[in-house]
C-alpha cells in the first residue's frame, strides 16, 4: 500500500488534536448512558433536567409531568458536574497522562487547591443568548445531543436521526456565519 504524504497531511490537518480524546471520551459518554440503562431501563438525556428542575419552583402544567423523575435527574446532573471535576483533577491537572489524551490550547487554565481548572474565552453574550435558544430548542425538539444524538441514534430512531441532522446542519451554518462576521471567540 502506498501512503500519499499529501493526503496524510490533509487528514492530519482536519484532526489537529488527533482522535484519541474524542473516541475515548465518546466511549465513556456511551458507557455512562449504558450503566444507567442497564440498571434502570431509562435512556437518560441531559436536557430534560432543565424542565424537571423548574418543576421545583414553578406550577406550570408543562413542568408537572417531570415531577416523578426530577429527583434522579438532579442526581444525574450532579454526577455529570462531579465527573467533569474528576477529569479536571486528573488529566486536566496533568496528574494522569495518556497518549490518547491531547491537552490542546483552548481557553485559560487556572489553579485552585492544586487542581488545574479551565475557563472559556467565548464571550458571555454568546453563551447567554445561545443558551436561551438551546433551552427553547431542545425542549420543543424533544431532545439534545445526548437524548437524540446518543440515546436516539443508538435506538436507530428516525425521529432522532432527523433531529440530529437538523440541529447539526443549522449549528454549522450558524457558527460559520458568526465566524464570518468576525466574532471571535
Amino acid at each position: 500500500m502506498v501512503a500519499d504524504p499529501v493526503l496524510l497531511q490533509a487528514i492530519a490537518d482536519l484532526f489537529p488534536n488527533g482522535i484519541g480524546r474524542y473516541a475515548v471520551g465518546g466511549l465513556l459518554v456511551g458507557l455512562g448512558t449504558v450503566v444507567i440503562y442497564a440498571g434502570t431501563g431509562i435512556p437518560a438525556g441531559a436536557s430534560t433536567f432543565l424542565e424537571s428542575t423548574l418543576s421545583y419552583v414553578s406550577d406550570q402544567p408543562r413542568f408537572r409531568r417531570y415531577v416523578a423523575s426530577r429527583d434522579w435527574r438532579l442526581v444525574f446532573t450532579a454526577g455529570i458536574v462531579l465527573g467533569g471535576l474528576a477529569f479536571a483533577a486528573t488529566f486536566q491537572s496533568g496528574v494522569v497522562t495518556s497518549s490518547l489524551y491531547e491537552p490542546g490550547t483552548t481557553g485559560r487554565l487556572y489553579e485552585v487547591a492544586g487542581v488545574t481548572l479551565w475557563a472559556t474565552d467565548v464571550q458571555p453574550w454568546r453563551l447567554f443568548f445561545g443558551g436561551i435558544l438551546v433551552g427553547i430548542g431542545t425542549r420543543i425538539g424533544k431532545g439534545c445531543t445526548s437524548g437524540h444524538g446518543v440515546c436516539g441514534v443508538g435506538s436507530a430512531s428516525k425521529t432522532s436521526l432527523v433531529g440530529v441532522a437538523t440541529f447539526l446542519t443549522v449549528a454549522i451554518g450558524t457558527a460559520q456565519v458568526v465566524a464570518a462576521l468576525g466574532v471571535s471567540p
Partner: protein, 152 residues
C-alpha cells in the same frame, strides 16, 4: 420517588460521573472545541457523539434479549423512540442556532461547570430561561386548547 430500589440513585450518580468524565476528556465541555468543529477546524466531535451512540446502540440491542427487565426498576428494556412531528424540525433548528452561537449543549454545560468553567453559568442561566419560556407558552396554549375543547 418512594418505593424505588435503594441503589437506583447511586447507580444514576455513577452513570453521571462516567458521562461527565467523558465529556471532560473529549473536550466537549469546552465551547471552543465544539465551535472549532462547527467551523471545520477540528473534525473530532463526531467521534464523540457517534462513538457514544454506537456503545449505547449495542446495549439497547443486546439487553432486551438478555434480560426480561431492568434489575433496579423491573421496567422492560425499550429503545428511545419519540413520535415525529413538526416540533422536531422547529426545535432542532432553534437548538442548532443556539448551539452554533454558543458552542455548548446541556450535558456539556453541566460538565463544563465541573472542569472549572464558571463562565458557563451564563449559558446555564440562558438554558433555564429558555426552557421556562417554552414551558410557559406551551402550558398556556395547552390550557387554552383544553378550554376550547371543553366548550365544544
Amino acid at each position: 420517588m418512594s418505593g424505588r430500589h435503594p441503589l437506583f440513585k447511586p447507580l444514576v450518580f455513577v452513570g453521571g460521573l462516567i458521562f461527565g468524565f467523558g465529556l471532560g476528556f473529549s473536550h466537549m465541555a469546552r465551547p471552543e472545541v465544539v465551535l472549532n468543529f462547527l467551523q471545520f477546524d477540528d473534525l473530532g466531535l463526531p467521534f464523540v457523539m457517534f462513538g457514544a451512540a454506537i456503545v449505547s446502540g449495542v446495549a439497547f440491542a443486546l439487553l432486551p434479549r438478555l434480560r426480561e427487565g431492568a434489575p433496579l426498576t423491573g421496567d422492560r428494556y425499550e429503545r428511545r423512540l419519540k413520535p415525529f412531528d413538526r416540533n422536531v424540525l422547529v426545535g432542532g433548528a432553534v437548538f442548532g442556532v443556539g448551539w452554533g452561537l454558543s458552542g455548548i449543549c446541556p450535558g456539556a454545560a453541566y460538565a463544563s461547570l465541573g472542569v472549572g468553567n464558571v463562565t458557563i453559568l451564563w449559558a446555564l442561566g440562558g438554558m433555564f430561561l429558555g426552557a421556562y419560556a417554552q414551558g410557559y407558552w406551551r402550558s398556556r396554549s395547552e390550557t387554552r386548547d383544553a378550554a376550547a375543547a371543553g366548550a365544544d
